[in-house]
């Protein structure tokens, strides 16, 4: 370790890892546009938050861009038909998720016409009210295209409400193998800059900082040229390092501000969007087009012809791979299928899984790339501690999670873990550290749900007790009332009888 490195180490500026990026040659090939497949599979939940609710019937004819499922709840996004055709079914399909579980989806059969619904764009977005832009972006179903798929409208309106000053555009694309953002920045820099300006208007932020990793010189040059005349859009190259594209890390590198552990980017006046999202926002505002397609990187040693492909949302990964030239040796050497990036993406059980709005890559790895290895005992080298971008102690946390001491793991900062996978990547013993953390987070969420459920049960049991008591009381009261009425009636009758008797007596007397 050289002197400067040592210095950096003590400054704590040594987080992250430097994997081989494997971005080329896929990044250098132009984007290919894939034709519309015969059938599209559109999961109702392609975003974070509540699932969308279908608003079409089976057999109904829809046009391209027509709303087929509406947003449900505060954090949600609608889904639009990616092409014209007939709704074939609303059913369960395999989700792009490592569990291999199913989720509800609309299946759309293409009629081959690809006919747009009537679109209403807007020529001067800057005349629009910021709230109106947020509304239109939400209606267009735009979500973050970086991977997490958080509904963009929620972020935009939230930002204008909480006085955000800086808009950060995430062009980091720090995940190895992926190059869809890189490609879009090279090809449509002007569109992205226009989208950024619309987002600046919508959020009320003063300045937009576009962070691009310095391993993408072409994208930096293209974006610089496009942003040359725009005063409040700055292109800022950042050092290539994983996870530079993580929100908290990018904010810190670009602004020097740190997002508090229990806070959000809003709290320090910053909002982060992906560069791809800027294009989707632009299309939604200028042309009124909903988000129905995206650029996906097909890569990995098993892919015959790696590259970026523009596909309709809902296309099966199988068909995308076939269009991209198929797999080497018909997938003989295939060791792992991944959707998204290799570090944080989802391992999927088979290729019959649709591309959703948040899918950035389809990766086919061979055994050499996966490099699966039996884990060995921890040698306490501290590599994971050095690599952790959040400054946590992965080895200590995983030891506690292994013994199910979740509370202690939380005490060590489990909730700050961003599951980037740096720790597992650098571990010389190949301990699946990040899997421990993801497991623990799921387990804690289950516990929280169980606790809520327990409280609700208690409340219900108490309410039932109250109800039974009340019913009993009412029964007793009603019986008492009836008894009183009966007695009163009897008394009245007796009184009447005596009265009648006396009258009779009077009469006879």
């Amino acid at each position: 370790m050289g002197f400067m490195n040592l210095f950096k180490h003590f400054l704590g500026d040594d987080w992250g890892v430097h994997p081989d990026d494997h971005k080329r040659p896929a990044a250098d090939r132009p984007v290919r546009v894939m034709p519309v497949p015969a059938k599209l599979y559109l999961p109702l939940q392609q975003h974070l938050g509540g699932p969308a609710r279908p608003v079409v019937l089976v057999g109904q004819k829809v046009k391209k861009g027509e709303l087929i499922a509406e947003a449900q709840g505060a954090v949600s996004a609608p889904i639009h038909a990616p092409t014209s055709g007939t709704i074939a079914a609303v059913t369960e399909i395999t989700a792009p998720h490592p569990s291999g579980l199913t989720l509800a989806a609309i299946i759309l059969e293409s009629d081959g016409l690809d006919e747009w619904i009537e679109l209403s764009g807007c020529d001067d977005p800057f005349a629009l009210d910021p709230a109106e832009i947020g509304k239109r972006v939400g209606a267009a179903g735009v979500v973050g295209l970086g991977g997490a798929a958080f509904p963009s409208a929620v972020k935009l309106t939230g930002a204008s409400r909480s006085k955000v000053t800086t808009l950060i555009m995430n062009g980091g694309e720090c995940e190895p193998y992926l190059s869809c953002d890189d490609r879009q920045m090279r090809d449509s820099a002007a569109g992205i800059v226009d989208g950024i300006r619309i987002m600046l208007h919508a959020t009320g932020a003063k300045v937009a900082l576009v962070g691009i990793e310095d391993n993408k010189p072409e994208a930096i040059a293209a974006m610089r040229a496009a942003a040359a005349g725009v005063a409040n859009v700055e292109i800022r190259p950042v050092p290539a390092r994983y996870p530079m594209g993580s929100e908290k890390q990018l904010i810190q590198v670009l602004t020097g501000k740190e997002v508090p552990a229990d806070g959000r980017a809003f709290d320090i006046g910053v909002i982060v969007h992906n560069v791809g999202t800027a294009l989707a926002v632009r299309a939604a505002i200028r042309d009124g087009k909903p988000l129905i397609s995206r650029v996906v990187t097909v890569n990995g040693n098993c892919a015959t012809d790696p590259g970026n492909i523009e596909v309709r949302v809902g296309t099966l990964a199988e068909e995308v791979i076939a269009f991209a030239g198929g797999l080497k040796g018909d997938g003989l050497g295939l060791a792992r299928r991944v959707m998204g990036g290799p570090m944080m993406g989802m391992q999927i059980p088979h290729w019959r899984v649709p591309v959703v709005k948040g899918s950035s890559g389809i990766l086919a790895f061979d055994a050499a790339e996966v490099a699966e290895q039996e884990p060995n005992p921890c040698i306490r080298c501290g590599s994971c501690v050095k690599a952790c971008p959040m400054g946590l102690l992965p080895l200590e946390m995983s030891a506690r999670i292994r013994n199910e001491a979740y509370d202690e793991a939380i005490g060590l900062g489990l909730k700050d873990c961003i599951a980037c996978g740096c720790c597992a990547y650098v571990c010389p013993s190949k301990i699946p550290l990040v899997q421990f953390f993801v497991h623990a987070k799921g387990e804690l969420a289950t516990q929280d749900r169980a606790k809520l459920r327990n409280d609700a049960t208690k409340k219900l049991a108490l309410q039932r007790q109250d109800r039974l008591e009340r019913e009993n009381r009412e029964k007793v009261e009603a019986a008492a009332k009836r008894k009183a009425e009966r007695e009163a009636a009897a008394a009245a009758k007796a009184a009447a009888a005596t009265a009648a008797a006396t009258e009779k007596q009077g009469e006879t007397a």
Binding site: P377, A399, R400, R402, N403, A405
Partner: protein, 192 residues
């Protein structure tokens, strides 16, 4: 003043009740799974030891020795210690039911903790004054609590480690405490 300090140091570290004299091993193995209950146990034992030291000194000097009943010493001391433990048990149950539950059987077992009886008997043997007896009791309790805390901390760490199946549980705990005893032997070089 220096005598007080020396007495404390020598009882707590150099002649540690647990690791040098091997007294009171039962709670050290039994209540050392978590630092919290170890601290509770240490405090309870400290309380009992102090009270027992004082009471046994008084009994010995004012009752047993004047009447020449030295042969009843163990009997009376056990009686006093048992009462003090009973009182402590009531007190803990009242003030901290959680601690009471987690100490479990080890709380009444302080009665038969040989550290307590041992300290009381050693006090008599060494002909200490009341103040020195108290100090001796306090020093011993300090040493006991110290070892209990260190050992509980170690066991908490050992619980996280991957121990070979044959050594899991009590065996590795015995190995750990033997190493700790070796470390405490180093204090004998203090020459106090």
């Amino acid at each position: 003043m220096s005598e007080i300090l020396l007495l404390l140091l020598s009882t707590a570290l150099v002649n540690n009740v647990v690791l040098i004299k091997f007294l009171g091993l039962c709670p050290v193995m039994g209540v050392s799974k978590s630092v919290d209950s170890a601290l509770g146990m240490g405090l309870a034992t400290t309380f009992v030891l102090m009270l027992a030291s004082a009471a046994s000194w008084m009994l010995d000097n004012w009752l047993l020795q004047p009447l020449g009943l030295g042969y009843l010493r163990i009997l009376t001391f056990i009686l006093v210690i048992a009462s003090v433990v009973q009182f402590t048990e009531m007190f803990v149950k009242k003030t901290s039911p959680g601690l009471y539950q987690s100490l479990g059987i080890y709380l009444p077992l302080i009665t038969t903790n040989c550290a307590v009886l041992g300290v009381a008997l050693l006090n008599v043997q060494q002909q200490f004054s009341l103040f020195k007896s108290l100090l001796y009791g306090f020093g011993s309790a300090l040493g006991f609590t110290l070892v209990l805390l260190i050992f509980a901390g170690l066991r908490e760490r050992v619980a996280l480690a991957r121990v070979p199946a044959a050594f899991a549980g009590a065996p590795v705990a015995f190995i750990t405490i033997s190493l700790l005893a070796l470390a405490f032997m180093g204090f004998s070089g203090l020459n106090v």
